[in-house]
Assembly symmetry: C2
Homo-oligomer: 202 residues x 2
Amino acid sequence: MTKDRYHHGDLRRALLDAALHYIEANGLAALSMRELARQAGVSPAAPFRHFESRTALLTALAEEAMDGLVQSVDAALREAAQAGPLMQFRAVGVGFLRWALAHPTHFLVISSRAYIDFEKPTLRERNDRIRAAMEGYMRAAAEAGLLRAGDVGRTLVGGRALVYGIARMALDGQFPSWGLDAHNPLDEATAILDQYIAAIAA
Amino acid sequence: MTKDRYHHGDLRRALLDAALHYIEANGLAALSMRELARQAGVSPAAPFRHFESRTALLTALAEEAMDGLVQSVDAALREAAQAGPLMQFRAVGVGFLRWALAHPTHFLVISSRAYIDFEKPTLRERNDRIRAAMEGYMRAAAEAGLLRAGDVGRTLVGGRALVYGIARMALDGQFPSWGLDAHNPLDEATAILDQYIAAIAA
DNA sequence: ACCTGAACACCGTTCAAGT
DNA sequence: ACCTGAACACCGTTCAAGT
């Protein structure tokens, strides 16, 4: 409707949306600021009014991704509010898997440290909060005698590595070659996490 | 010694070596063919006599990385030749971790599917062979009654995801924030794998 | 306040021509 | 056989100028 070439309305929003779709279709490496400008119908210089660099734009996208991750983890934790600490640890993993498999491009962006500035407090701090939550639940599970013998720190990191690795394998399309049902990857991923939980439980 | 500007001697080799060092220092995203040409003292067009594209060069680097991975896995398997199938499964993981932590840039290249052509038979086939070996050992362990109750396929993928995830976490420098000793990441990574093996064992 | 236009120093890649 | 030189169509980013 507003056909102005000047005053786009919300160029920042339009650029972020265009970036997400472009990455989804063509990958992170191919993304160009000039292409985003073209898609938004503005000059090549216009995006730099809103993002000081390509890295800044991708970091902003990563921040929005982090919003979604935090919300997904919080939602899963609310569902497990009545459960014990080991099930709350599981809930963090479930929240992560749900989010990663539902928003693969956001997951790709947030885990591509070569392209974003992960040291931004809005990323680092929220990432640390999730890590601290996982650690808290795992230590509580250990103190409650819910874990089999072993080093708690290693059980914790093993779980975190497993969840991250599953997400990567699912999104890289590796499930079929490992003989897993790729039709419902989230159910499969959750089942693998559940089997880990069962294996570490007392 | 040979100061010829023409006939470099082994430009192909020089480009691959320069690429590895450049990526180690500056990351994959920043690598440029022109920069590699400059480092080798040749014209911008010269590299394209040896690699038809940037992707082809990085794929060749990934093939050399795969050589190292296969050798590392084979060496670990030889060490475990007398052991049972569950320990042979472990050996594949140990071979992977040793290689990934000792050659982080090669690991980065081989796992960056946006930049390489993973469908090349030399990559895909050797990757599949490692996967098939892991599956064989895991199924043999199950048949020998070495595993606790559970779905074997999920135990297998869980182990593979855990090993891959540990490597990523170690190389991303995440060990300290998880309270792990980062001084000897390989020992720590192996201990986490061993705890997984212990947890899934009967 | 927000965008354009032109510029600068880069890219990957091609191709005719040189040795 | 192997490399150069020049060219083409791109980049990210800056900055003075326009509205």
